[in-house]
């Protein structure tokens, strides 16, 4: 839970709020009334360090590291239960995904080590083939995030394979060069 009992103004990060505001739709978090509908609706609320209501409060108070290092953002499965019920129509799910991206970028995803490994390997699959290859994705994920837990994945893999649901060969799209050109251009634009 919160480790700093007394928080001094000087260690809080007020730019964090501006960072969130600058996201498309991000300024809406100003409207949060701390009603807790999001936390009550969240299927993962009970296992989160801070359920969504607290996350919004922490963002607004400038507790940048606490938010980015929390397990909360990695437990968000984007079910949108909070988002459709929020009386202030805050795009809660989008904010959670923005937090995931900032945490990955800044190397603060310690509690999201596994989830971020899965996402990064997914991106690798798409950039390589243009499509996801689920078999290779899981193999790479296990090697990078849970090598000592590999046996745990075997029964499910076998259940898929034995029912003809796990193709061994990837499918590469014909015009992968076009996809890569598009991605490269985004990369250049984001750098600017």
């Amino acid at each position: 839970m919160l480790e700093r009992e007394v928080v001094y103004e000087s260690v809080l990060d007020h730019d964090f709020l501006d960072e969130i505001y600058s996201l498309p739709g991000g300024h809406e978090i100003k409207k949060c009334i701390q009603c807790g509908t999001c936390s009550g609706s969240c299927p993962q609320g009970a296992v989160m360090d801070y359920a969504p209501r607290k996350i919004f409060s922490l963002i607004r108070a400038g507790f940048r590291d606490e938010v980015l290092e929390s397990n909360t953002i990695w437990y968000c499965s984007s079910c949108y239960s909070c988002a459709v019920r929020c009386p202030k129509e805050i795009k809660i799910t989008d904010v959670m995904y923005a937090l995931k991206r900032i945490a990955i970028k800044e190397g603060k995803a310690k509690k999201g080590r596994k989830a971020s490994a899965l996402s990064k390997n997914f991106v690798r699959m798409v950039n390589k083939y243009g499509r996801n290859h689920e078999t290779e994705l899981m193999a790479r994920y296990i090697l990078s995030a849970e090598p000592f837990n590999a046996l745990n994945f075997v029964p499910q893999g076998w259940r898929l394979f034995s029912n003809g649901r796990l193709p061994l060969m990837p499918h590469k799209i014909k015009n992968i060069e076009q996809l890569r050109k598009i991605l490269k251009k985004i990369d250049e634009l984001e750098e600017m």
């Binding site: 498309p24 299927p43 993962q44 296992v47 990695w74 437990y75 499965s77 984007s78 079910c79 949108y80 239960s81 988002a83 459709v84 019920r85 129509e89 799910t93 995904y97 923005a98 995931k100 991206r101 990955i104 596994k114 989830a115 971020s116 899965l118 996402s119 997914f122 991106v123 798409v126 243009g130 499509r131 996801n132 290859h133 689920e134 899981m138 995030a145 745990n152 029964p155 499910q156 259940r159 898929l160 029912n163 003809g164 649901r165 796990l166 193709p167 499918h171 799209i173 014909k174 015009n175 076009q178 996809l179 050109k181 598009i182 991605l183 251009k185 985004i186 990369d187 634009l189 984001e190």
Partner: protein, 302 residues
């Protein structure tokens, strides 16, 4: 009725049984699905947690390629449905997103105007084909089969939340908390629809790979509620929901000491069964949790 078909990666692999059942049932409904040539992955929710603009860009490539056909894009996967709609929405609502995507598409020799409507195959079957047509196609008696509709998350909530594009699609095609379209569809096939409260609760989605115990807990809740209300099977519309509830069901049992034995099938497989088709044509033999004896007896009219 002709549509541009965006299958998504799952139906080409772990959800191939979904595709088999779609192929088996849609021609009789007068639905023609023409697969978008050389489509790429939508990126699912994983890509957007690493780089959102790139996630929009890869989806925009699909939308741009689909635009020249001037038809609705139809997908069977709830995640593809969410991501393609979200991309459309951001493209149309945020000028800075539109500008970047326009420049990036141009680098690939493509352009997009933002006018392609993306629909879920459930929406098409319910609203374009219509329930009367389904009832008309149903020849096998299924009234003793208790079917629990499982909607999952991505089908109605994100649209209601604001990702639905186009006037008719503005708030999605059903209620975000208590959708009923699949309930009506089950009734239209002649089967009995099970009422239960977990029909839109999250299955854990990709947490099954990363936070397995938590995802299994969510699966247990859905399976238990369906079983307690007398379901012979669960019907779903999403490849990831189906995988979690089906392939991981034995694991739920070993972790929690439960004895669930509930086949989790796709809604198109149920329609196929109602049409009198054989389980094999519908990919039902690929289920991890096989059809139970009571279910088989009902199908054989015993």
């Amino acid at each position: 009725m002709k549509y541009t078909y965006y299958p998504g990666c799952s139906v080409k692999s772990t959800a191939n049984l979904y595709q088999e059942s779609i192929d088996a049932v849609v021609p009789a409904m007068g639905v023609e699905l023409e697969e978008l040539d050389d489509w790429n992955c939508c990126g699912a929710t994983a890509y957007m947690s690493v780089n959102e603009m790139m996630s929009f860009a890869i989806s925009a490539r699909n939308l741009a390629m689909a635009e020249k056909f001037h038809r609705d894009v139809v997908t069977p996967c709830s995640a593809c449905y969410l991501v393609l709609n979200k991309t459309n929405r951001y493209f149309n609502d945020y000028p800075e997103v539109r500008k970047k995507l326009g420049v990036a598409l141009e680098a690939g020799g493509l352009s997009y105007s933002g006018n392609i409507r993306v629909r879920h195959i459930l929406d098409v079957i319910i609203n374009d084909v219509g329930l009367e047509k389904i009832t008309g196609l149903a020849s096998r008696k299924l009234e003793d089969l208790n079917v629990a509709p499982y909607y999952g998350c991505q089908i109605v909530r994100p649209m209601y939340y604001g990702f639905g594009a186009g006037e008719e699609n503005e708030e999605g095609f059903d209620d975000p908390d208590d959708p009923v379209c699949m309930d009506r569809l089950i009734e239209a096939t002649g089967a009995t629809c099970v009422k239960y409260s977990m029909k839109t609760k999250c299955c854990g989605s990709s947490l099954i790979g990363t936070e397995e115990k938590q995802a299994l807990k969510l699966c247990r809740g859905i399976l238990a509620d369906a079983e307690n209300n007398g379901a012979h099977c669960i019907v779903t519309i999403c490849p990831l929901c189906q995988m979690n509830l089906d392939v991981y069901q034995p694991k739920v049992n070993s972790l929690f000491g439960t004895k669930f034995d509930i086949p989790v099938i796709y809604f198109t497989q149920l329609i196929g069964l109602a049409m009198g088709k054989q389980p094999k044509e519908l990919g039902l033999e690929r289920l991890a949790v096989k059809m139970t004896r009571p279910m088989k007896q009902i199908l054989q009219g015993a």
